[in-house]
Subunit: 316 residues, 2 copies
């Protein structure tokens, strides 16, 4: 019998609810007669997603920002937000104020109008955020073309390092520790970059479940092979992984929660996209290309090594 991880549970839902593609895009598309409304629901759970050293204001902000990340990857502006929260009976006014300030910050940062929501009593804090936007067309996960280039919107691996530090193991140089922890508690999705460049993307996907998961999903859905010839890791992360004998590939490809996104694009667009990224100060990295075949492979001194989907799964 298969283990009940998130993928397996989602399959049971798919089967039961007669929907073939539960969670197959980063967002849900509500087709009404004249318009397409884009919606995304995301949940942050105290016992699973909020390290004890994380402020509640940062956690509240992050619950909104996690949804923004999906909108960024699809090139759609989130316009409205609704929030449903569970709070334990014993929660203090101070903590509620912290939570509110986090939501406020996120809404301001990404220009989201807060519409309302509800509060519930529960055993632990849960933030449930729903964002909405409108669009004619979203960039899909599945339409990469052969010879397309593969980009990410920033370096990977810091969140994995940062989470370990937040869980009590502070390691490495102070500047690195700060940067790694910041990547966990203050993620900053590249919304503006997504909005301004979506027309150049053949496919895209939010990477918050882990880069290996994202690449495998995009490769599988487009029925193309993805070759990764550059690992999106900066020098400081490489040093950290050496010093502490951690596997660099694991940090970069299997961590998750980066809230960056992956996109594919024709090589004709390379110049304009790089120019736009520079203007917006987004450190995009070209990590490989699309070709005939299937699977995701790491190119290492002209050898190809299969990159398996080892990203984050809940309930595993």
């Amino acid at each position: 019998m298969k283990k009940l991880d998130e993928t397996e549970i989602i399959k049971i839902f798919q089967k039961g609810l007669g929907k073939k593609k539960f969670e197959s895009e980063d967002v849900e598309i509500l087709n009404f007669d004249k318009v397409k409304i884009i919606a995304k629901i995301d949940t942050l759970v105290e016992s699973t997603d909020i390290p004890s050293k994380m402020k509640l204001s940062d956690a509240a902000r992050k619950s909104v920002v996690a949804c923004v990340s999906d909108f960024a990857s699809k090139g759609v502006k989130p316009k409205y937000g609704m929030i449903s929260i569970n709070l334990p009976k014993t929660i203090s006014r101070l903590k509620i104020n912290e939570i509110v300030s986090g939501f406020k910050k996120a809404c301001k940062e990404y220009d989201i109008s807060f519409l309302g929501g509800d509060t519930n009593e529960g055993k632990e804090i849960v933030f449930n955020v729903c964002l909405f936007g409108i669009t004619d067309k979203i960039v899909t996960r599945k339409d990469s073309k052969k010879k397309d280039l593969i980009f990410v919107t920033g370096p990977f691996g810091y969140t994995s390092a940062g989470l370990n530090m937040l869980l009590g193991k502070k390691r490495g140089k102070e500047t690195f520790v700060k940067k790694a922890i910041k990547s966990v508690i203050k993620p900053k999705p590249r919304l503006e970059f997504g909005l301004k460049n979506k027309k150049y993307f053949s496919s895209s996907m939010d990477s918050s479940d882990g880069l290996s998961t994202t690449l495998n999903e995009m490769s599988k859905l487009s029925k193309n092979k993805f070759i990764i010839n550059k690992i999106p890791a900066l020098r400081d992360l490489q040093d950290f992984s050496k010093n502490y004998r951690l596997n660099l590939d694991d940090l970069v490809f299997n961590g998750g929660e980066e809230y960056e996104f992956v996109f594919t694009t024709s090589s004709n667009n390379r110049n304009v996209i790089e120019k736009n990224a520079k203007l917006l100060k987004i450190p995009i990295i070209e990590i490989g290309f699309v070709t005939t075949g299937k699977g995701v492979y790491l190119e290492n001194e002209s050898r190809l090594i299969r990159l398996k989907d080892l990203g984050w799964k809940h309930l595993k």
Copy 2:
């Protein structure tokens, strides 16, 4: 210092997020250029909202139905649904299947297309349901007119009795026990009635927080006095309250979770509405009228007694 109940927490949110009317209609209205999208988010929490004797399939169905109730009161058809669930790590496949069957049932019953959602790990089961519809105009809570009649879409008080029974105190005749328990585990909002009659409503509101809360809110927002001259309780509930020395008013007005709604309408519409209700087999009850002044009053042998807002509040 004020106690931190739901109303107080909502005020902190209102103030912090710069929104004057947090939760001031039953649904949220998303204004896009050409259309109004109606959205509602609702949460069912295991430790608070699911009595241990309630099946998970009924709980899952109810989490959808609770949102449908708000749509019914506003006369809007819910078209799409998204579901985000928290599940404990130890949950069994059997329980997941039960949950899925409950969602499926609700979607089928109210013709809702299920779009997707996500699953999360948490300490307890949480169902977070978001429904969406489209409309030109919703019926507000605030526009009752003087001389309007006040109706409810069905009898009240069974849920209060039924919840006690589910919590272990089975009392009364078997048929009554069945009816009362059914009112808790299988609520049936009057969606079709709302859709077909909204044009006659001057104001309306879902009553699931308790009838006294609903009437007070509608009276306050419309700056009118509401006189209640008929208590919407059937004979079997009256007998039950006498036999067990329970306060009938308390059962009827302060229980909550009935998933009926209250509406006001001009007396010119009485006949057509009653005819429509009969066709749809909805047992609507005329309970009073709107007049000049403020507050909600129970008329008892020509004496007027103030009906206070004593409905359900979370976190109280």
